[in-house]
Symmetry: C2
Subunit: 231 residues, 2 copies
């Protein structure tokens, strides 16, 4: 069995690989997990011993296929839990991250299966993040575009909000922006701010940092119901 700590390292490395590119440096991992560099050195040694990462001294690390599977398993736990907490226990999307961050390490495979079944095998969590399938096939995060990349006038649907700050998430949902929201870019101000108009008619201004975190696509033909549908 992997310790919760080792799972955290693996998950962090996997995510860093998805964003930047491998190999991932110890200092990046240290910053992400808020630990010191020597701590990272000793942990990556252990992960490498277990065959979960490839390590080249003084270079950095990279997940092996086996490590990727473990990372996907944890991410699946996390996102299923987030979905479960919102759908079944009435949590707000701003609150679920922290709770899932802890529980993801402690639920059994049986729990995972049953939650997935109760939720009808969901494909996306409340933030629009794709939930790895039961078979743990790598997810292709590919063709996502950020709201900040779009010019004025485009009609767009929010697919994903890559922000975990509870206050910011609450602000966004209060303003009417969640995955599924359809909006139009009203103004791109030169001071690092974007203003969008929602279908309700209301306008919302967002700093670039937030607009970078909001992923969008051209809206699909109107679809039935649930709002987090994608593809």
């Amino acid at each position: 069995m992997l310790s919760a700590k080792m799972e955290d390292y693996l998950k962090a490395i996997y995510r860093l690989e998805r964003d930047g590119d491998p190999p991932i440096s110890p200092s990046t991992i240290a910053e992400t997990l808020d630990v010191t560099a020597p701590t990272v050195t000793s942990m990556v040694e252990k992960l490498a011993d277990r065959g979960l990462i490839e390590r080249e001294k003084y270079k950095g690390v990279q997940t092996t296929p086996e490590g990727e599977t473990v990372a996907l398993e944890i991410i699946r736990h996390h996102r299923l839990l987030e979905t479960f907490l919102t759908e079944q226990l009435g949590y707000d999307w701003a609150e679920v991250h922290e709770e899932a961050e802890v529980l993801e390490h402690h639920i059994s495979e049986e729990f995972e299966r049953r939650v997935a079944a109760v939720l009808d095998e969901p494909e996306f969590d409340p933030h629009g993040d794709p939930i790895p399938s039961d078979s743990l096939d790598p997810i292709d995060d590919d063709s996502a575009t950020a709201l900040s990349e779009h010019g004025e006038g485009g009609r767009l649907e929010v697919t994903r909000v890559r922000d975990r700050d509870p206050d910011e998430l609450t602000y966004l949902s209060d303003a009417g922006i969640t995955p599924g929201t359809v909006l139009t870019v009203e103004e791109v101000a030169p001071i690092g701010m974007v203003t969008v108009q929602l279908e309700s008619g209301s306008s919302v201004s967002l700093p670039d940092r937030i607009a970078d975190a909001i992923q969008v696509r051209a809206p699909e033909a109107e679809q039935a119901g649930d709002g987090v549908t994608k593809a």
Copy 2:
């Protein structure tokens, strides 16, 4: 914050106090938690330092009111989780103990509140164990009688099954015995066995060890619905 381990010690001590009587000896704790005596010595030192137990060297330990509150909190988590797993996730009563044993240490107060709300503030778990209230008042387990204490002919209602072995629990529920079951003692054999007849007419024989674990009372006037109602 208490570590999960310290919570386990506290819970074990609290339960041992409820069964036998205080003070609880280190050797009993060691056996319960499957650790060695020196490990217990060092842990009870820490618990005593934190004011959660009273300790007298070479005698044993006893929970303080504060320790009792913590123990009740963990037991509340455990039993709420067991109830939740059966009612909302379709677990069998035989499977819930292990899962709850882990998760009880990792859910937030928010999670506890929401689960309790979704379940409509349940008072008993699937085994018939009372769930400590939100205010964590000590529970009075008092006047429970075991099936094994009853002679032939009595009509009884099962209120609680104090057994955690999955195979045994599955056997019992398959045989039709769960909290709420009404039965009659058909025969008390001198070889350490009791045979009961269920309302369905079927007979079930049980060794004394199991009959000791089944708590019963005189059946209430017929009550609406749920079967785990008590007093």
